[in-house]
């Protein structure tokens, strides 16, 4: 029996992001498995207003779920502005978890790691890495601000080029500040080997990184689309958030190019996008203008819930993941595999890792609409290829598998810590 505290940068009830959902599903899984499991989620405006004199808020009647109100952190340093940690210390010391699993410290601050370690000197502290925020000040995207190309690597000079308002010295300070807090973490969990390597390059020892694939709720497979007699496998789907880094503009531009050829006009694209309204206005305008200019067969559909996935997969033959940033372990790839849809993805980062070119999907040159158009055309005209890629779709890692992997990791670290304590006292 282990006591586990999950700390998340948000609660999926309010912020249904991938990281938040993953954390919460893991929490629910351990809870239903009978472990004494707690979930502490950061909250802030507009979802909550703080009570006077405490950052804590109850989460309905859930005796094991808590909100912690936090806003206005120093986003450059990822440093908290909390001036009195007394109540958090009190909380940690009364719950006394054996394992503290951070899903993120975004909106909370690096200091949380310090406070946890001070209050819980023997606990296992686990930290799941979702993107590159500790490395990259550009929302952790590792995309250069000035030309939107992927970043070649962290350095104070490179970062200063992206953010001229911060000196190279500031970036060294930022790195040192984050790393000195990371020393409190026993193990980092990464669902992508590509992401692990970026952190190794940045200076996290390889031994402190642990690979666990994202665990998913397995859905029954959606059957392949019923083809009318003279139609090929030419329905493509874009599923997920609409933001400047997800490459949807590249995809729409590819469709515009394809619309010029008679063969290309057979290709149809379904966009199931979400969160457009929260994006910068320039992006919203660009998106609208791109759709306007595109004469191809593009159908825009409203956002979907995860339960609707089998239904919308039924009209799609292929899933496109055209992100221009490295990604981590994109959920949409798992969703495609779950329903045996081959994936056409950018040839970089987590996408290139999860999609094996010519085996489970096809790669195109990241950011290149021309190359994407070529691949789409190629894919639409190769029914045999579709069949073989589909047959090769790997099984998807389940929540149960993920729980088992996490449990093993927790136990391993606790054992190691205990041995360390015994070694010191012995």
């Amino acid at each position: 029996m282990m006591k586990i505290l999950f700390i998340s940068h948000g609660h999926p009830a309010f912020v249904p992001g991938g990281g938040e959902i993953a954390a919460y599903e893991l929490f629910q899984g351990f809870q239903s498995a009978g472990e004494d499991t707690h979930f502490l989620a950061r909250t802030g405006p507009p979802h909550h207003r703080p009570h006077g004199g405490t950052p804590f808020l109850a989460c309905g009647n859930n005796s094991r779920e808590y909100f912690f109100y936090s806003r206005d952190i120093d986003h450059f340093l990822q440093s908290s502005r909390v001036t009195d940690w007394g109540l958090l210390r009190e909380f940690l010391e009364s719950v006394r978890p054996d394992v503290v699993h951070f899903q993120h410290t975004a909106h909370l601050g690096m200091e949380w790691l310090e406070i946890c370690r001070q209050c819980l000197p023997n606990a296992a502290i686990i930290y799941t890495l979702h993107e590159y925020l500790p490395i990259c000040n550009h929302a952790g995207q590792m995309i250069r601000t000035y030309d939107r190309q992927v970043c070649e690597g962290w350095s104070p000079a490179n970062c200063h080029l992206c953010f001229p308002e911060h000196t190279p010295q500031d970036f060294r300070l930022r790195e040192l500040f984050i790393k000195t807090h990371f020393r409190n973490v026993d193990t980092f969990v990464s669902p992508s080997r590509f992401l692990m390597n970026r952190y190794v390059e940045w200076g996290i020892p390889e031994s402190a990184l642990h690979f666990i694939e994202n665990g998913r709720k397995i859905q029954p497979e959606a059957p392949p689309r019923l083809l009318p007699p003279d139609e090929g496998r030419a329905n493509f789907g874009y599923l997920g958030q609409l933001n400047p880094f997800k490459g949807v503009l590249v995809l729409i531009e590819a469709m515009r190019l394809l619309a010029r050829s008679s063969e290309g006009r057979r290709i149809r694209l379904f966009i199931h996008g979400s969160n457009l309204e929260t994006q910068p206005p320039e992006f919203q305008e660009q998106y609208a203008a791109a759709l306007e200019a595109c004469e191809g067969n593009v159908t825009v559909r409203p956002a979907y819930t995860i339960d609707e996935m089998p239904h919308l997969m039924q009209q799609i033959d292929w899933v496109v993941a055209p992100s221009i940033w490295y990604e981590n372990a994109p959920l949409v790839v798992q969703e495609a595999y779950m329903h045996k849809r081959p994936v056409i993805s950018s040839d970089i980062g987590g996408m290139a890792e999860k999609v094996v070119d010519g085996v489970t999907g096809l790669h195109f040159r990241s950011g290149s609409s021309e190359d994407l158009a070529r691949v789409l055309l190629h894919a639409a005209g190769s029914p045999q290829l579709w069949e073989s890629l589909r047959a090769a779709a790997p099984p998807v890692f389940s929540i149960e598998q993920s729980m088992t992997a996490h449990r093993e990791l927790y136990e391993q670290i606790l054992r190691r810590r205990l041995e360390g304590v015994l070694a010191v006292s012995g």
């Binding site: 909390v82 001036t83 310090e114 000196t167 010295q169």
Partner: protein, 762 residues
Amino acid sequence: MERLYVFEGWTNIGAAAQIHGISVNRQQCPGLPIAPFRYERGDLKDIENGEGLVLIVKAVPEWSGSEPEVLLQTGEGEFRWPWSCEPAMHENIQPRLRAWCEWNPDANRRLYQHLFEAVASAEQLKADVLFEANRMLWWKSVTRIEGCLDSCCWVASRVLLLRWWSPVPLSRIRQAVITGNNDTIPLSLHTTIDIRSDIPDPSWGHVGIASADQSRLAALHEPVLLFLLDDGSVSAPAGNAIRPRGTLDAAHFRHWHTEAKRELLEAIFRLEKASQDTPAGSDMASLPVPAESAVEVLDEACPNHLSRFDGALQMVLDHFQVVRSDLVFLAGWLFDPKNSVASLALRGVDGRSIEIDPLLIRIPRPDVTENVAVPHGIHSSERYGFLAAVPTEYGYWDRGARLAARLRSGESYEIGRNRTTWDALETRRALLACMPEQPYFDQRLMKLMQRALSDCRDDASRRAFARVIEYGETPRRPATSIIVTLHRRIDFLRHQMAHFVGDTTLAGSEFVYVLDSPEMEREFAALAMQVFDTYRVPFRGVFLRKNSGFGPANNIGAGLAHGRNLLFMNSDVFPCRPGWLPAMTAAQRSVPHVGLVGGKLLYEDGSLQHAGMYFSRSSNPDGLWWNWHYYKGLPSVFEPANQARAVPAITGALVLIDRALFEDLGGWDESYLEGDFEDSDLSIRLYQRGLCSWYQPSVELWHLERQSQAPTFENAWRRNATYYNCWVQTERWSGVIEEIMRRVHGSEEAEHQGRGAASTHL
């Protein structure tokens, strides 16, 4: 407290219509005494029956907070009065009275009289406590209320400046008094006519100064200014401006003739001096702020630039500074190709004069050459600039000075400067900014700068210390005290603590943070609490009264530290990894004859910032010994930078020293300015004792120095400070430095020739 309300505006109900009463907020106020005052208004000429109307009524408590609407009840019915329904209270009536006066100056006079009567009647009804008994007495004796007192303020600690207008000629005033509830202060006014266009007769304006006692005047309640006239009557300017907290209304004096301003200023100083009973010089800096503002406002009294004969004679006094009560410093330039100036003298505002020709040091002024000489067709290497340090007797030099040029033709011209500062730091920076740009060098000039600069040093470390706050329980008998001075970037505290908390080898050390930015005291106090609450590393926060610079701030920190060892660390130094302190103390223990231990410091990109320092003599005529950093900018793995060895000097950014030794040496030398060369000076002093400065490359820390900015006019003082410090170091240690460097070269040669290991002891 009950109040008198004054409603003012205009009506066209006609003089025949009688005003029976008013209602406020639609409630009749039957018992209200009304004293309607009607007068002709120029702006209402085109309106039938248009006339100005003023009503004076006692306030009713129900009005408070609401805006009363006034209805006039006449025999013909009720009229809503739409204009100016906002009540005027006695606090704001003065500006309104002045506004009315613009419409009808004659009516204005009558209005004041009327007001006075209304006030008197209010007193009978016990309606108003505005005017206290004593004041009432005077008011009752006032025959006429004439004119207006516009402003009244302190311009020096004992000098009051009054500005008023009144039709009463000065010759008729027998005595001016300020009176209030319990005291009457006679004033001996020194008066000047103040020609103004905003009053009925331009010659009715006056400005007067009088010496008075601040505390006595402050004790008066509702003071008023009265003039006792030669016929026994009493005249009072209207207005209630005897509230001498205000500052001089600068805008007004802008119209003054500069000579008049100068005369007034000098009169103020004479009066101030005459009324000073304390010994001269004891509290020159403690004058109240208004005196400064008087100086500022009247600064134009004497321009600092002179140009005669179509620019063929030009003179500017750029800077004038009292360095000490008996030494003043001045800087400027003189363009005089025809050699028309016979002599220059410095004249104080109190009139005393000092010949300064023999004291002037001429310096090049490329800006004058370029912008003045060349346009006049003169291409010469003439040094137009001058500096001088002038010994003075005590005088009113802090109020500015005049530079008087007497021409061979007999004419005489003056330029001047009124501003000077008493802040040592500001003085120093101002003086440094006056130095000519290098490589110009003049030993006599440097001596002059030294004299001026060392005199304006203010024993910073003894006077700056303010208080210590302990965050957590700091160790009482620590092995090492780590002393960090914070200047502006107080956020470095957070960063350093985030690193120190993870280094177990620092446990038991004492941390002393000296805040050398006193203006950030509150911010720092809040940050310190937060940082301590997060990391729980105890430390002592030392607050300084004033910005003091590297040497003094670190000396204060050292004085408050308890460790057997002192480790001085810059706030922008951060460890690359834990364990650096034991590595330093190990070197201190194991190396024979060690005085200082320093480590390897890296820039943010990993290149070398510090791997020990040495001295190198400049090839300029000044022959200064400059400090150089070994292998600066090369990669940190560069082999020669990775040998532990004795070096000529160690940077002050990270240095370890035995506390007793440090104290014995007298700490950081405070004669260097703005944080520079103290470290090499310390190394040299240790060398003299036969102790070495040890570079330990296994000690690796970041030194996140900001790139130095390109020199601008604003930071010229900083560049000059470096130069000055280097000159001081050279003056002081030239011989010793030569010896040190001879040994270094000798041992390097020995090494090259393979004649055994080099001596570690320089």
